[in-house]
């Protein structure tokens, strides 16, 4: 019932988001057709605006947009003028999603064990090493990690390609570049979760029952300690699936990240709104999934 209600809220929420995005992008100075070279006659500019209905009052433009949207049409791109927003998203989203999913698995795959063991092996040399590593991952931005990886592994040792999108081999460096920061973040969340959980009553009870340390850690502590990571996963996945400008530019990957930034710079109104909507849908749906995962992981959580 609770989830059904939340699903029903989605469409009006998305319409509201589209309206806000639609209005906000138009407050920026300059327009999609402002160029260094103006056409020979102002009449050409006027026709261009007319062609894309940009000469209409705002409310009319928005109604036209909603009409298209109700048929699943995000409208034309005003920058990539041979493509519609649908064309671009259906080309770029699968690419970003592939890379994002790989980076997501990488962050969890590295972050969870790292966080778990630094908490489980307290006082051990491993704790210091692991925590420092996690801190390092969080502190060094992709802007630095990427070029360093490229110089070392692609230019110097020629193990991986320097850029471009092709086979699995092309994905290795971008995945690490994109995922490293998040793996550090996940590790820190996981460690915090573990440290808090280890002092909880039910863990003390489990220990008192004489369960083995690994059973205590894995069967009892882990499930609860991982919850902060789970709630972080929803927005993280939405972020990763929709692409990263820095990583996609650096590796020249034909994903969404480049379009997210460029559409704003280009004042490509339909493109910006379309991308905002795709991101919003992902975020809302993934958060819903996160909440569902909570009920499964933590028996104390109930939604009524």
């Amino acid at each position: 019932m609770y989830f059904l209600k939340r699903l029903l809220v989605l469409p009006p929420l998305l319409i509201l988001i589209s309206l806000i995005a639609f209005l906000l992008v138009r407050t920026a100075p300059g327009g999609p057709f402002d160029k260094e070279r103006k056409p020979a006659s102002p009449e050409i500019e006027r026709r261009l605006l007319e062609r894309y209905h940009l000469d209409q009052p705002l409310w009319k433009q928005y109604l036209l947009y909603l009409k298209g949207l109700s048929q699943g049409d995000f409208g034309p791109s005003l920058k990539q003028r041979n493509h519609t927003v649908n064309d671009i998203i259906s080309q770029a989203l699968p690419v970003s999603a592939t890379l994002g999913a790989a980076a997501f698995l990488f962050s969890l795959g590295v972050g969870i064990p790292l966080g778990f063991y630094t908490a489980a092996r307290r006082g051990h040399g491993f704790e210091l090493a692991g925590s420092s590593l996690a801190l390092l991952f969080v502190c060094v931005p992709a802007l630095v990690v990427g070029p360093v990886l490229v110089i070392v592994f692609a230019v110097h040792w020629s193990i991986f390609p320097v850029a471009l999108w092709g086979g699995a081999w092309h994905m290795v460096l971008p995945t690490i570049t994109l995922g490293l920061y998040f793996s550090g973040k996940v590790a820190r969340l996981m460690r915090e979760g573990m440290l808090t959980t280890m002092h909880a009553d039910y863990i003390i009870a489990a220990r008192a029952k004489g369960l083995s340390e690994s059973a205590v850690l894995w069967r009892h502590a882990f499930r609860i300690a991982v919850l902060p990571v789970v709630s972080y996963s929803g927005p993280l996945l939405a972020d990763l699936l929709t692409g990263s400008f820095v990583v996609e530019s650096l590796f020249q990957i034909p994903g969404m990240g480049v379009f997210v930034i460029n559409s704003a710079l280009n004042r490509d109104y339909p493109m910006i709104v379309g991308l905002v909507l795709v991101y919003a849908v992902l975020l809302l749906v993934l958060n819903l999934l996160v909440d569902a995962a909570y009920t499964w992981l933590d028996p104390r959580v109930r939604y009524d």
Binding site: K35, P39, I44
Partner: protein
């Protein structure tokens, strides 16, 4: 939805990259369109001219016009009527003959107001073209471009236009496939097969990935086209472009935007890095509608204290040529007059005369530029020159691209960084910009003498007389009543290994037709170097 996207992502995203094309070129930023009628950017134009050809085409060596789809033409004695004869072996890549009707259709399509083509102005030299494009007449048949028969096109011009044959090679003047455009409308460029009139046909276009083209075996000059498959790639990061080049995944980088200029001193030492004179000019616009730059003495004073050499040596460092004039050297039959040189004493005198002795009482003014490290460094140099020599404090304002453009076109600035790249080998491509009614003037400057000289020049059929008039106009622009402060003439850059790539010639138009590029196998190219 997410799952569907993910699933398709794993299928399409992970499929193996097909083998390397015969030639891979980094073509700059992603193109906006491949429709020759509406494109404006140089990367777009380079691809469009690979796919489509006009009555003439650019010569690979010096970018002058040479016969294209028309193999010969006659020009009337008054230089106002051109009669073109199409070659008999001109066919579409899909086999249909290319006719005079196709030419007329293509030209009128660009002029059609509904197409809203940015570059429609390139046709305004034709009788009634401007009237049709701006809606003053609605009957397209009144535009003076006619198909006399299946293979003859006749054009009537308003003035003798010495660069008209060159315009005929421009992307706006290419021949486009009527039946495909009428069938598919705005999405015609996505039709496959896409009939092409040029040396290559379009295989695939994936945004931010590549445009793949294949040799058009039916092209009239196919015998001289060597490379079978060519990929033209967009790259966003100059560092990535260089890495791809250094690891030999691409053969050529030919767009200035993706050459890492911060490495210019290192690049200049490389044999595969090429610097050449370019038909582009870097200058500053004054807003002459506002105080204090409505006073010509103030504008002159600002120009007279600029040490251009310092800017090209300290900031740009690519071998740019300091220039006190606007029109780049290297155009046929033309020599720019000298503009205002370096004379701080005269500058201070003019400033005093204008009522600002030693800069006292000078209003706050700012210098606008679009956000970029090199524009900012030019700004810092200028700021220092104006402060030191004139005692005037100019504020620097870095602006995001579209905001900067809007401010410039609405005359909402005092001083604004500017640049212009010529479209054809004639001074008119620079000078007509400052005619009173030109939308690219953007200084508020209206000089009737200037307009008069320009009109006289363009009505003249004697090249020497024409050059004299143009030079008189430019003298007003850069010396006697300057609305601009010219700084330097651009150079072009590209990267390719001259032992491997041949048939690529550097010219001031930065025009390198793909059809003439040839490639030697790396092993044979290296053989000559061999062991001692």
């Amino acid at each position: 939805m997410v799952l569907v996207f993910l699933a398709t992502g794993f299928l399409t995203g992970c499929s193996r990259r097909s083998d390397r094309a015969d030639l891979v070129i980094i073509n700059g930023k992603e193109v906006e369109s491949l429709d020759p009628a509406i494109i404006t950017g140089q990367p777009d134009i380079r691809i469009a001219l690979t796919l489509f050809e006009g009555l003439t085409r650019y010569n690979a060596v010096d970018a002058q016009a040479e016969p294209g789809l028309a193999d010969r033409w006659e020009i009337s004695p008054d230089l106002r009527t051109y009669t073109f004869h199409l070659r008999t072996n001109g066919v579409w890549s899909t086999g249909e003959p290319i006719t005079a009707e196709d030419v007329v259709y293509s030209w009128l399509r660009v002029l059609n107001p509904l197409t809203a083509a940015d570059y429609a102005g390139n046709f305004y030299y034709i009788k009634n073209a401007e009237e049709y494009n701006t809606g003053k007449i609605t009957n397209a048949s009144e535009v003076a471009v006619k198909a006399l028969d299946r293979s003859t096109v006749q054009v009537e011009l308003l003035n003798p236009t010495p660069f008209f044959l060159e315009l005929c090679a421009f992307q706006t003047h290419v021949v486009m496939p009527r039946w495909i455009i009428e069938k598919h409308g705005d999405r015609w460029i996505h039709a496959r097969p896409l009939p092409s009139s040029g040396a290559y046909e379009l295989l695939a276009w994936r945004l931010e990935d590549r445009v793949s083209v294949r040799k058009n075996p039916r092209y009239w000059d196919a015998a001289n086209v060597q490379l079978e498959r060519v990929d033209l790639m967009p790259v966003n990061s100059p560092a990535t472009a260089l890495n791809l080049f250094l690891t030999k995944q691409v053969d050529i980088i030919w767009d200035k935007d993706v050459v890492p200029t911060e490495l210019i001193d290192l690049l200049k030492k490389r044999r595969d890095f090429h610097v050449f004179d370019y038909l582009g000019s870097y200058f500053v616009r004054f807003n002459v509608t506002r105080k204090p730059f409505d006073d010509v003495r103030v504008r002159k004073a600002f120009a007279l204290v600029v040490d251009r050499q310092r800017i090209t040596e300290r900031v740009t460092r690519g071998g740019e040529r300091p220039a006190s004039f606007l029109v780049p050297p290297g155009l046929p039959n033309y020599q720019s007059p000298a503009g205002l040189g370096y004379d701080p004493g005269e500058a201070r005198r003019l400033l005093k005369e204008a009522g600002y002795p030693d800069g006292k009482g000078f209003p706050r003014v700012s210098y606008h530029f679009n956000t970029s490290r090199s524009h900012e460094m030019v700004g810092v140099e200028l700021q220092e020159m104006w402060r030191r020599e004139l005692g005037i404090e100019v504020e620097l304002r870095s602006m995001e691209w579209k905001t900067y453009l809007r401010a410039q076109s609405e005359l909402d600035f005092d001083l604004s960084r500017s640049a212009w790249v010529g479209d054809y080998n004639d001074p008119n491509t620079f000078l007509d910009m400052f005619m009173s009614s030109n939308p690219n003037n953007r200084t508020g400057w209206k000089n009737l003498d200037y307009d008069q000289w320009m009109r006289k020049a363009n009505a003249s059929s004697d090249p020497a007389e024409r050059a004299k008039f143009l030079s008189a106009a430019e003298a007003l622009l850069v010396r006697d009543d300057p609305p601009i402060l010219p700084l330097y003439i651009y150079v072009g850059f590209n990267l390719f290994d001259p032992d491997v790539i041949t048939g690529l010639y550097n010219n001031i138009r930065d025009e390198h037709p793909v059809r003439s590029i040839k490639k030697r196998a790396r092993s044979t190219a290296r053989a000559g170097e061999g062991n001692p």
